[in-house]
Every structure is written in C-alpha cells, then in structure tokens.
C-alpha cells in the first residue's frame, strides 16, 4: 500500500503494539503529527510540557507495564531535550524507542535552523541508533529499533528521520508484531553446580537487581527464596519484588543499604547475584566485597560478569528461565544460626530507622500510603534523600511498582515517570514521591497530569534544603552549607491550584492520612506538601571505599 513516510512511521508503531506515546511537536515533526491526527482512534499521543518529561513518561510507562515506551520529538532542541531521559533509560536498561524528526536531507550538515546531529549526541547513551536516509529502509529500521530495545538487556534506541523522508511516498508492507521469545539459558550442569553450592552453604545470601524485574522473574524469585530459605537483599533497582519486613527480606544493599544486608554480604559464604551489575553504589569497596563468599553471578549481559566483581560461577541468560529450571533442583534447608544473625542485625536497623525528629517523618508517609493503597499502588520517585527513604520504607510493593532512576540518578525523573505509569496503568493509584529540590526541576509536568486528568498524587517532602547534598556537607564538609539552603518561597498549595490540580499541606501523620483520603476521593492530580526536618538524614550510610565496619548510623 502506498503511504507517506510519516504514515509508515505511525503504521509501524501500531503494528508493533504501540497504543500510547509521548511527545512534543515542531516544524520537522509536523508530517508525523499529521499522520497521528489521522490515526487518533488507534494510537493516543500525550503532549508533555517538555521533551524531557516525555522521555521520562515513556520510561515510567515502560517500567510499569513492561512494554516499550515511545517518544516523538522534533529536531534541534526538541531532540537535545530528550537526552537526559534517554540516558536515564539507558543506565537502567529500560526499553524505549525515541523518534526524532530532523531537518530535510538537503539541509543536513549545513547548520540549518533547528538542526542537530542527534545520532552523534546519543551514541553513547543508546543501545543503538539510526539515522534514516532512505524511505525504503524506514519501516524495517523502526521494526529493528523495537527489536533491539526489547531484547536481551533492554535499552533505548533512537531513530532520526529527516522531514523530507516523512513526506515521500513508498510501499508499506505490513509485518507481524515482533515478540521477544528467544530465552537463552544456562546448561543443566551449571544450574546443578549452583544447587550444589546452595546445599553446602551455611551462610548464603541472594542479592538481586533490576534484571529480575525486567525479566518478569519476580514470582520465580519469591518461590526460589521461599524454597531455599536464603535471605535476600536487593539494589534500589530491585525494589518491589519482595515485601519489606518479610522474614527473608533484608532490604537494600550498598551505600544506604540496611545494616542487615551489608553485614550479611560481609559475612556470607555464598553470594547469589541475579540481574545486578555490582555498581559502585552497591559494591563500595571492590577488594573487600563479600570477602568470604563464593560468588554466583547470573545476568543476561555477559559483559557484566567480572566487569566489577569476579564470579566463581557465571550464568548468562534469562533469569526467569534459569530460576524455573533451578527451583526443582534446590533443596529446602533451614539455617537457624544464620537467621539468628540476620534477626540480630535487623533489630539494629530498626533502632536506626526509629530515631528522628518531631513532626511527620518520611517513614510515616510511605507507611500511610501502603496502609491506604496496598501493594497495587505504583510509586515513582525523584532523586535524593526522599528516593532512598521511599526505597527503605515502602512496605507494600510489587515488581514494576517502584520506579526510580537508579543508575543515572536523575532529579526531575519522578513526575514524568508517574504520568507515564498512570497512562499505562489507568486503574492503579500512582504516587510521585519527591522533594522540594527535585520537584523544582520538572514540576511543569503538572499541566500534563491536569490536561489528561491523570490523578497522580505528588507528595513533596519539603525540608527547605537540597537534602542529599546538604547531608554530605553535614557529614564530610564541616557543615559548610553552600548552594543547598536556598530559601525558596514557592507556595506548593497555590502552585498546584494554579496548574489546575489540588494542593494540600500535611504536618503530622494524622493530617497526612486525612488529606490523602481527600486527594484520593477527588480523583484528580494533587500535590501534598509535607514539611520535613532538614536534620533528617538517610541512614545507615557507608561511604565509597568503606565497608560495613565503617558504617555511619547516626
């Protein structure tokens, strides 16, 4: 069938199962938007306030649904505005296809108006990218983009299309939606080795990361943990798979990990790592990480094995398949002595978490949300202290229910991500946990939530400082507070109302419970601002290069 390039773009998106996408129009993207206009009954476009918001929304959509998120942006600044969002998705291995329009082919390379070499700019932050130069390659290039984004270790792919190609006419041949079926797995022998190690181990630990979530292996992991009775900790990217406070849950590992998790890693004789890359925030001192342990490393990306931590047994493949095969092989064994140590450390953790200041505390906020909304709520965070508190204290979550920028640490990620999650999960309750620092970066996306009536509830932990940096200045720079204590006069309640959302303020746990109920009943975008004492710190903390033996607990 003869179609314009722009129509081919939209047809391929639909063919690949895309029902929603995020973007922002502009001169060179107009043909694509014309094609979207004619296909509104089949594919819905969400206009954001800024292209960064669009990429974070596509990212949150992808994280919360498992589908590939799609973004459209125009040339020049439209394209460069997607860069932070693409890098965020890249560092966390989130499947995303970003379509950027560019100036027409004859204008490329001439520093034309709104021309930028976006494939060059995004080369190191995409899994792959394409600059389309020939309409005959357009459809297959887009199909490949989806294939690359959604296969193996997932990630963002950018396709740059010059305006003249979107206007040219070519034959469109429909194709099947590409489905990722190939599930590479380890040999039975390798898995038997792991089962054997588990049987022999007296002090085993599981440490898992976002790879478990992206492989949709949460259920299998829970079953594996229950059967083997091995205590498990996770990276911030693994948050949501096992419930906080469950017998075998040790919480987060690493810089702001629990004492339990960090002590357990320090003393374990077997470490089973799954879908994690041992980043510098997890393995703080490589030469002294899990010093007594035999390390089993399971990951889909063979370049992650031995990149940071050496593995005694390496298994490359799909975690879900591997766990399914491994579960029948492992023994059910109890290790009462090891669990005693875990219990002892957990009591120490509780002491740390319970210290604090007057007024509403971060843990209270997460607690109330959990009580009211249960584990089906989706929580998106920004970056900083509130992010770690959210990960430490969100007691009720499920896989794909906790969305955070773990690798790039992008302040301003949360609102877009929450909006994307709400689009992908219209019946879920979506929370955006943020702080006064992060929120000021991208609060403009409130207009998106309001325009599409996406009832995202934003909770602002307002401590009047840039908390995480402030905490470092407190601990490491003799309280030399610079550029962290800016007195902003922003009135969040009025701002929310100005955007057309509801604004609330809560100063105690009881007030928070009450306004949360009101906000939920109103079923429209809402901001709840909670003043937090700026002396509240994220604890425990282990500095880079230190071990749990040098942990800060107060």
């Amino acid at each position: 069938m003869k179609m314009t390039g722009a129509e081919i773009v939209v047809e391929v998106l639909i063919e690949q199962g895309v029902t929603e996408l995020f973007g922002y129009p502009g001169g060179t993207a107009l043909n694509i938007y014309e094609a979207l206009y004619n296909s509104q009954d089949r594919i819905k476009h969400y206009l954001t306030a800024h292209e960064q918001g669009a990429t974070h929304a596509a990212d949150g959509y992808a994280r919360s649904t498992g589908k590939t998120g799609v973004v459209i942006a125009t040339s020049g600044p439209g394209s460069t505005n997607t860069v932070t969002g693409i890098a965020t998705a890249y560092l966390d291995s989130i499947p995303m296809v970003v379509i950027t329009a560019n100036v027409g082919t004859p204008l490329i390379g001439k520093d034309s108006f709104q021309e930028v070499f976006i494939t060059g700019i995004t080369q190191p932050i995409t899994k792959h990218n394409y600059a389309v130069r020939d309409i005959s390659r357009l459809a297959d290039t887009l199909r490949n983009a989806f294939k690359i984004a959604g296969s193996g270790r997932k990630g963002p792919v950018l396709v740059d299309i010059p305006k003249d190609i979107t206007a040219q006419v070519y034959d469109y041949e429909p194709a099947e939606r590409w489905v990722y079926e190939e599930k590479l797995s380890a040999s039975q022998e390798e898995l038997r080795d792991i089962a054997c190690c588990i049987k022999k181990s007296k002090r085993p630990v599981i440490c898992f990361g976002g790879g478990v979530i992206s492989a949709d292996a949460g259920e299998e992991l829970v079953e594996f943990i229950a059967k083997t009775q091995i205590p498990a900790c996770h990276t911030i990217m693994g948050t949501g798979v096992i419930g906080f406070g469950e017998e075998l849950d040790m919480g987060i590992i690493g810089m702001h990990g629990s004492l339990t998790a960090n002590h357990a890693i320090d003393e374990c004789d077997l470490l089973i790592a799954m879908g994690t890359r041992f980043s510098d925030r997890v393995a703080l001192k490589l030469s002294d990480f899990a010093p007594h342990a035999k390390v089993v490393h399971m990951d889909i990306d063979d370049s992650e094995i031995r990149k940071n931590v050496s593995a005694d047994i390496a298994v490359v493949g799909d975690i879900k398949t591997e766990l399914k095969n491994l579960i029948p092989m492992v023994c059910e064994c109890r290790r009462p002595q090891w669990m005693e140590s875990i219990k002892k450390w957990r009591m120490e953790d509780m002491k740390i978490y319970n210290q604090g200041f007057e007024g509403i505390r971060p843990a209270d906020i997460l607690d109330v949300i959990g009580e009211v909304c249960g584990k089906d709520a989706i929580i998106a965070t920004d970056v900083g202290q509130h992010q770690i508190w959210a990960a430490q204290f969100c007691k009720k979550t499920k896989p794909r229910g906790f969305l955070t920028s773990g690798g790039l640490g992008t302040m301003g990620f949360g609102y877009g991500a929450a909006i994307g999650a709400q689009v992908g999960n219209p019946d879920a309750r979506v929370f955006h946990i943020t702080s006064d620092g992060s929120f000021h970066m991208n609060m403009n996306e409130a207009c998106t939530a309001v325009s599409y009536n996406l009832p995202v509830i934003t909770v602002i932990l307002d401590n009047k400082v840039l908390g995480m940096v402030y905490q470092w200045q407190t601990s490491f720079y003799d309280k030399h507070y610079i550029a962290t204590t800016v007195e902003r006069k922003s009135d969040y309640v009025k701002l929310a109302q100005g955007f057309g959302a509801n604004g609330y303020r809560a100063e105690t746990r009881e007030e928070f419970s009450a306004v949360l109920k009101q906000a939920l009943e109103a079923d429209k975008p809402a901001w709840i601002v909670c003043p937090i004492d700026c002396r509240e710190r994220v604890l425990p903390m282990i500095s880079s290069g230190d071990t749990v033996r040098e942990v800060m607990t107060e």
């Binding site: 060059g120 600059a131 370049s303 031995r306 490359v316």
Partner: protein, 174 residues
C-alpha cells in the same frame, strides 16, 4: 595482572558512523587504541577493522565483550601472533644531504625498505613489515634527522584456511 598488547580484528557493517561507534566505545570506557586501520572487504557491505590495544586480562576481556554488544559489529577476535600475518606500512622523510645518502641507502637495503622519493634535502623511505621490523628500522634511522613520519597501524590476516566470518550474536545481544 600483566599488561598485554593485543591485536583485535572486527568485522563490522559498512555503515556511516560505524567507526565512530567503535572508537567512542573505547573512548568512553577508557580503553586504549594504539592503532586502528579500517577498510572495505571483498563483501562491500562489511568493513574490517584491525585495532591494537593494551590492558590487563580483565580489560581485554571487557573490550571483546563490550565490542560484541555493538549492533553493527558482526565478528570480533583476538589475532594470535603466531598464527596471523601482521603488517604495517611506514613512510618516513629523512633529511639527507649528499653526504648521508649512501648510508641511508645501505640501511634501506638491509631492511628491504624502498626509497620512493629523492629531493635535494631529503629522502622518503617506504617499509612494509611486522611492527617490530618497522620499530627496528626506525631505531636505526633515528640517528638521522626525521622530518616527517607516518605509520598505517597494524593490519592482520590468518595463515592457512582459517577465515574470519560474520557471526550471529543475536541471542547474546545485550
């Protein structure tokens, strides 16, 4: 862990930007490129890159695994110094007055280098050979005044019937 020098051969899709993708990967991860050559192969859709790098075993392993992840890279291998024929081309312009010419000519003869240009003040020598041979030649020529020098970097091919072919990394694509 010791530092090793390795010669790595890559078959890549002959697309615009492919060289920049490979070199950017090295740049951003801090791997070294000592030399790099690239050209189209007998299959015009495939180019071959020969790259010399150095690092400890872990870095070399990472180089191979990370390079394989590039979508346009179709095959990667480390060339075995004993199996492969490795060659490099040198062009060097040496200042040469009448008095020095015969001595330089003698050196060229020993190393089987050709003199490809004579001018009143200088000589241009051309030498093809293993990098070690070129290093040796340059050591000797260094006692004269070298005006300009360029080397192509190593290119390598296996002896016998072993042929480098495009592989399907699809299942490992990550």
């Amino acid at each position: 862990m010791g530092i090793n020098k390795v010669v790595i051969a890559l078959l890549v899709e002959n697309n615009a930007n492919v060289l920049s993708r490979v070199s950017m990967l090295f740049g951003r991860r801090g791997y070294n490129i000592d030399s790099l050559t690239v050209s189209e192969t007998n299959d015009p859709s495939i180019s071959r890159i020969t790259l010399v790098s150095h690092g400890d075993d872990r870095i070399i392993e990472q180089i191979i695994l990370q390079t394989k992840k590039l979508v346009e890279v179709k095959a990667v291998r480390i060339e075995d110094e004993n199996e492969a024929i490795m060659r490099e081309l040198l062009l060097v312009k040496v200042a040469a007055e009448e008095a020095q010419r015969s001595a330089i000519r003698d050196i060229c003869e020993v190393y089987k280098a050709s003199i490809v240009d004579y001018s009143p003040d200088s000589i241009v020598c051309e030498l093809t050979g293993k990098p070690s041979k070129i290093d040796g030649f340059l050591d000797v020529v260094a006692k004269y005044e070298i005006l300009e020098l360029c080397r192509t970097g190593v290119t390598a091919i296996d002896r016998g019937s072993r042929i480098m072919v495009c592989e399907d990394f699809e299942s490992h694509r990550s």
